[in-house]
């Protein structure tokens, strides 16, 4: 296949970026999207130009490192698929493809298609954990967990922290990401002791990082490569209200 690519180039956080056009010939439909970019990068290096910086690592849809907005969609056109698992057979010969970084105030561009997503780590630091010290755990089977509960926790825990939900949202909201962690831990008996503080602190941290609000567009669920359900946002909202009410007040 032959392709025309329009790719966001930006030297660093301080300089302005722009879209640059590249032609790429002889792309095999069996290549993954990132392999296609690898080929382009080889050609750029051949010409002595800087290769296009993009994040990637596992290349099998689990580490959450790859990003990219492809033709306006976070992780591209195929449902439930990360950029690294997208294959060129999803595109037509002679297609024009627009490739941009995940855009959000809380995800500043580092270079080209690479953005800084450390805001997510800081939200987890605010409470996305169970405070269980190493060495103090009881026997793993001492507390049975109903299978549905464990499965629901696992559905939420499947989040790979890629940030597509934020990139897809008009308001750059991180609600789906935060809700996934709150619901993962909130569905487990081990997660009950810290449940109230967790949701309050994580939501506060999310706001402080400059993520927007959720106004129920649900673009996040559509873009999520792991199909995390927006029902977890509802669950988090309930947790949040409950926790706010039970918060000790000074009056």
């Amino acid at each position: 296949m032959n392709l025309t690519l329009h790719i966001w180039r930006q030297k660093n956080a301080e300089t302005r970026g722009k879209m640059v056009r590249y032609k790429l010939a002889d792309v095999s439909p069996d290549m993954s999207f990132l392999e296609m970019l690898d080929v382009l990068n080889e050609q750029l290096i051949d010409k002595g130009e800087d290769p296009i910086a993009f994040d990637h690592d596992c290349r099998e849809g689990i580490c959450g490192m790859c990003s990219l907005v492809i033709n306006g969609q976070a992780h591209g056109p195929r449902r439930a698929t990360t950029t690294c698992q997208l294959h060129m057979r999803e595109f037509k010969n002679n297609a024009e493809i627009y490739i941009e970084p995940f855009r959000a105030g809380a995800f500043p561009v580092i270079r080209d298609l690479v953005v800084d997503r450390t805001a997510f780590d800081r939200v987890i630091q605010a409470g996305g954990f169970i405070a269980a010290n190493t060495g103090s755990a009881p026997d793993a089977n001492s507390l049975p967990i109903a299978r549905e509960k464990a499965e629901t926790a696992m559905d939420a825990a499947a989040c790979i922290g890629c940030g597509a939900c934020v990139a897809a949202c008009k308001n750059a909201s991180a609600m789906l990401f935060v809700a996934a962690k709150v619901s993962h831990l909130g569905n487990l008996p081990q997660g009950q002791p810290g449940r109230n503080d967790r949701v309050l602190n994580m939501v506060e941290a999310m706001d402080a990082e400059g993520f927007g609000n959720c106004t129920n567009y649900f673009e996040c669920e559509a873009a999520c490569p792991k199909e995390i359900s927006v029902k977890f946002i509802a669950q988090m909202n309930r947790d949040y209200v409950k926790a706010s009410l039970s918060k000790p007040s000074y009056v």
Partner: protein, 639 residues
């Protein structure tokens, strides 16, 4: 220098307890006076950093990804072993120990492996406490599946994402310590050298991958948990960023590299399908619980798989290894696949593939059950190959997956350099010549959660910061930093024509061909001629665009490939020297009439630990003899 493994005295099952009862301790109020560097945030590094932080040490943790949650451990699919015997099927600590020793083809230390089996019980408890949502049965208790090389069900799992869930558990514990201020996390930061001052590991030199700044970090001990070197083959199931750099640079500073030739080729990966392919995707070994492996009986049978009747199929694993069948260990299953394809019975476009067929289990258990067990793996397969494994058997072929070799460590996980500890896949310690499935996650977490906190404390108690202070003004830091900067300048200045990636690909082909699933003296000698020649071309004809003081992916890659250009030689040297077949190391000269590996215990019952002697120079061999006191090494049979 003789290698002292420092195995505690006493009967095997008491060694770890004895050690713990007598080890030296650092008092809680003194721990904050120590600084510890942990390089790596995977299961081993993440668990270590979180635990040491929780104990009160000051920890600096490093990873090259943008978040500790993205370490390569995240990609593990199938599961983690533990000798809990929750299924009541006859499992025990001893049996897990025995299976691991046997699986490793009697090339691991008994004491280490026994400790690993003991600790496996605590790992599951700890992970459940952290909120890892392991699979459960309808009664709400933990479920198990079987993995290769075992006749019991002892593998705990979280769908096909066990590594992800375990790493997220570790990561949450780590983030909690970061919030508490005990751990400082340095992301997008690559260790480029180890600093040794007055004979002790005292720090590292890193490059900030965003700004390019070269930085010095000093500490009372350095822990490397930087993963394996499976990408030496270029194509592998490992993440694109996996590399040998941290371990290799420590080796160049004097740490011994043990058993590099023990590499694991995993039998169930999606076959290669094009020259631009950048990685091979693993299809979890757990699939072999329900999938049957076969090839056509006749070479050249090109009928579509569903039109080949049973009598024309060769279920070769079931035929050759009736008691383990499709769950034969990885090295054995991989070689059997190669053998079938070498005989012209391979399937798929390039003839390098065998079928993994779910037809019978779908008929027996129903499609729904198979979906519950493996849907995410089936989807992954479909995305990559455009074929539906519910209808057409999967095609699989072996690929580089894991490396048993690594930096030499003693029972305390300390290398031969005092103060340098090595954890997880980066060390050589527990898997001998072949690792059983679901045992790497177990080892990473054992090292990180439970072993290092004790053995490091024991070391630090004798090395008080006020008696032996260090800071980054020490001459050793200036020297190491100077070498790092020089090397970067050298890479940037070559100004040749080829990218680092193209060199990596070529190197990988050499290593795969001559030092892959089957090795010969001639092949290894040929590789040892080709590698230095390629290295020479690398240093003349490499092109790295851009500058050192910016985000530069070409430079990052070049540095890693440069190390592989030297390391590959160490690997082939070790394979050439080990004139026997064992585990993942198969020398064609040493096989029996049925093609099974033939060990030579009289001459090779030792760990080969290599000492650096200069680029292109043959490294110096140090031997650690292995003494089997409890298990009697026998011919490994899975028939």
């Amino acid at each position: 220098m003789t290698l002292d493994s420092r195995i505690p005295p006493g009967p095997l099952e008491d060694k770890w307890t004895n050690f713990r009862q007598k080890m030296k301790l650092v008092a809680p109020n003194n721990r904050r006076k120590y600084r510890v560097i942990v390089v790596g945030s995977g299961l081993a590094g993440g668990a270590a950093a979180a635990t040491l932080g929780q104990l009160g040490y000051n920890v600096d943790c490093f990873c090259f990804q943008d978040s500790p949650r993205r370490a390569h451990s995240i990609a593990a699919q199938g599961g983690i072993n533990a000798g809990k015997n929750y299924q009541g099927d006859g499992d025990s600590v001893y049996r897990l120990f025995y299976d691991t020793i046997k699986g490793g083809d009697f090339r691991a230390r008994e004491a280490n492996v026994h400790r690993l089996a003991e600790i496996s019980l605590n790992i599951i408890d700890q992970c459940v406490a952290l909120g890892v949502p392991f699979a459960r049965d309808y009664g709400g208790l933990l479920a198990n599946r079987s993995f290769g090389g075992a006749q019991v069900s002892r593998t705990f799992y979280a769908r096909g994402q066990t590594g992800q869930q375990l790493l997220l558990g570790c990561y949450s514990a780590l983030e909690r310590q970061i919030a508490a201020g005990t751990v400082e996390m340095h992301t997008r930061s690559e260790m480029l050298d180890l600093v040794i001052a007055d004979g002790r590991a005292r720090g590292i030199i890193t490059r900030d991958l965003v700004t390019g700044a070269i930085e010095r970090h000093a500490a009372d001990a350095v822990l490397l948990a930087t993963g394996g070197y499976g990408t030496v083959f270029y194509l592998s199931t490992n993440a694109a960023g996996c590399n040998v750099t941290a371990a290799y640079r420590a080796y160049k500073r004097g740490a011994y590299f043990a058993n590099p030739c023990y590499t694991q080729i995993h039998p169930t990966c999606i076959p290669v399908h094009g020259e631009h392919q950048s990685k091979l995707t693993l299809m979890s070994e757990s699939l072999r619980n329900d999938g049957r492996v076969w090839v056509p009986k006749e070479a050249g049978d090109k009928r579509p798989p569903n039109q080949i009747p049973d009598e024309d199929r060769d279920y070769y694993l079931e035929r050759k290894y009736p008691s383990f069948g499709n769950l034969a260990p990885r090295d054995i299953a991989s070689r059997a696949a190669k053998e079938a394809c070498d005989a012209g019975r391979g399937v798929g476009e390039y003839g390098r593939g065998v079928y993994l067929d779910f037809r019978d289990s779908i008929n027996r258990l129903g499609r729904k059950t198979i979906e519950d067990r493996y849907s995410n793996l089936f989807e992954m397969y479909e995305r990559i190959t455009d074929e539906n494994p519910y209808e057409t058997p999967m095609r699989i072929y072996p690929a580089s997956h894991y490396t048993m070799g690594g930096l030499w460590v003693d029972y305390h996980l300390m290398s031969n350099i005092p103060g340098l500890f090595v954890l997880g896949e980066a060390n050589f310690s527990d898997h001998g010549a072949n690792r059983l499935g679901a045992s790497a996650l177990m080892q990473g977490l054992a090292d990180g959660f439970f072993v290092i906190s004790d053995t490091l404390g024991n070391f630090l108690a004798d090395h008080k910061p006020d008696q032996d202070p260090i800071d980054t003004d020490h001459a050793a830091f200036a020297e190491a930093e100077g070498e790092v900067t020089q090397k970067i300048d050298r890479l940037l200045k070559i100004g040749g024509r080829r990218s680092a990636d193209s060199f990596h690909r070529e190197l990988g082909q050499i290593v795969w061909e001559h030092c892959g699933m089957a090795r010969t003296k001639e092949g290894l000698e040929a590789a040892l001629e080709k590698i230095p020649a390629l290295r020479e071309e690398f240093w003349q004809n490499l092109r790295v665009t851009g500058f050192g003081d910016e985000f530069n992916i070409a430079l990052e890659k070049a540095g890693r490939v440069a190390d592989y250009m030297e390391f590959a030689e160490i690997l082939c040297n070790d394979a050439l020297h080990r004139d026997e077949s064992c585990g993942g190391h198969f020398r064609e000269e040493h096989q029996d009439d049925e093609g099974e590996a033939q060990r030579n215990d009289d001459d090779f019952m030792y760990v080969a630990a290599w000492e650096y002697q200069g680029v292109g120079e043959k490294p110096k061999l140090h031997k650690e003899e292995l003494n089997y006191e409890v298990v009697k090494p026998t011919k490994r049979s899975y028939k």
